[in-house]
């Protein structure tokens, strides 16, 4: 009875794993196909008749992907750095410094997590358009310098777990608050900082609505925006489209595989996607 159950359980798991992998297989296989004769066949061929690796090279030459990669990387890495530093500073203050109204303000930080993204979108757009920042990368970068509520929450939790005796002894040695933050708290929060860094990478790299609203000329496009336009141009060339999709998804996949313990650990601790 027990073994029957176990076998059933593994059978279901393996079947589900295959189902979950199927879209990836379909994407990779399509990206290597030859063209219309290969694509539009029935039944669909999971294994291509011949492998056209040159599709990837062709796709790269069809559209200035290098420029889009540069824009996306610029936004992603600056926003990662900015949000890590600002969120950590704010979180440190909430966790360790005493000042009037601290807990009320922290409650305010938490409640901003409930504000829907679309509530603030229009005035932000108008603000950035008055500043002349529309069609630049600035609206996608600058707001990250002001801390993000969710990251502040996570880091505060983490900082509160650090024994306060550590900063007492540093204070006796005459270290400034900035110094205590920089040389005790930041290094000890490394796992949390890495988790947040990866989360921020994923969200900035995948962002679509932000670039869609703010970036108008092609030279400023991000990868996600470019993929959408590329689909409009080559809408039946599925081998090229899948190769392009693969290239846009690959950095996220690599980041995930390399840092998955941090991501899954971080999600498990925080309980947030």
């Amino acid at each position: 009875m027990r073994t029957v159950k176990k076998v059933m359980q593994y059978a279901i798991l393996v079947l589900l794993a295959l189902v979950f992998m199927m879209p990836f297989l379909w994407m990779i296989s399509t990206s290597l196909k030859g063209g219309a004769d290969d694509l539009f066949t029935y039944p669909p061929q999971i294994i291509p008749k011949s492998f056209h690796w040159e599709n990837y090279r062709k796709v790269l030459s069809m559209y200035p992907w290098g420029v889009f990669l540069k824009n996306t990387s610029l936004i992603t890495f600056i926003s990662m750095f900015a949000t890590l530093l600002s969120s950590a500073m704010v979180a440190f203050s909430f966790a360790r410094l005493r000042f009037p109204g601290r807990d009320k303000i922290f409650f305010l930080v938490l409640s901003t997590m409930m504000v829907p993204y679309y509530t603030t979108l229009i005035p932000q757009y108008i603000l950035f358009s008055k500043l002349g920042w529309v069609n630049t990368l600035k609206p996608l970068i600058v707001p990250n310098f002001f801390g993000a509520a969710f990251y502040i929450f996570l880091l505060r939790q983490h900082f509160m777990g650090i024994p306060p005796e550590l900063d007492d002894s540093a204070k006796i040695d005459g270290a400034s608050t900035m110094r205590i933050f920089g040389s005790i708290y930041l290094p000890l929060a490394k796992p949390a900082l890495i988790t947040i860094g990866i989360l921020q990478f994923m969200s900035a790299w995948s962002d679509f609505i932000g670039p869609l609203i703010y970036l108008h000329s092609e030279k400023n496009y991000t990868l996600t925006l470019a993929l959408n336009t590329f689909r409009g141009i080559h809408y039946t060339d599925w081998h090229y489209l899948m190769a392009g999709t693969m290239m846009v998804a690959l950095p996220s996949l690599i980041f995930f595989f390399v840092g998955q313990n941090y991501i899954i650990g971080g999600i498990t601790v925080s309980g947030i996607k």
Partner: protein, 299 residues
Amino acid sequence: MGSVSRLTPRKREALEGYLFISPWIIGFLVFTAGPILATLFISFTKWQVFGPPEWIGLANYARMIHDPLFYQSLKVTGFFTLLSLPLGLAMGLALALLLFQDVKGLSIFRTVFYTPSVVPEVATATLWIWIYNPEFGIFNYVLSKFGISGPEWLYSTEWILPALAIMGIWGAGSTMVIYLAGLQNIPRVYWEAATVDGASGWQKFWSITMPLLSPTTFFLFVTGLIGSLQTFTAGYIMGGGGGPLNASLFYTLYMYQQGWKWFNMGYASALSWTLSLIIFALTMLVIRASRARVNYDLI
């Protein structure tokens, strides 16, 4: 130099405290609090961005009441949420339960199920347009193996929302990971004691697992609800801008069209303010309704 160091240590600490949180305070005023009030103000105006806003009172809200597309977008968003939220939660829970039973290779399965959630939404959408291709896509081919002749999916007003909900299941890995964490928090003795008392697997699931997981379910339900009501990318990309015949005209997509296609910032603001109220009201309703049903014994 001197003035700061001459402060009492307490005052000095408070000053530094405010200094350290000042980035958030500034960001809050400029990017959150200010815009929330500004949206309300703009919703009472006619504003094309270029040029000054013109005060028109409640006209935008009156227009909304007579706008069939407003109702259509509410219907699309509501129906999609009713469909995709329970489906996603059920799939996430099912995967978590399967993996929770001492599985060898747990981390491999977990990775496999989680991977789709890290693919950028635009890439997922592009891939699934091809998967759902009625003639040459893999989805209808697999269905045909079971003797089912699949519908036109994204080209059908009836099937596009179910198609998007099914695609959502592919991303259930993130729900799974959170459920798995919830399961790991439940002490095993509860199940063991029930087994000794002769409870069946089904009884254990309904009387132990589900009640003790209810805080996790509640959290996932609320965040899922707020997220689902703001669905945009799927309708924008896979419906080709809300099609066919507005069958995937999600609320935020309609707001985007009003704001950025036709530059009716006033009307778009009225739509946005209304959505915020709907989300707020629904969230409060869920929190209220859940009070008696969520079990916090473990917290």
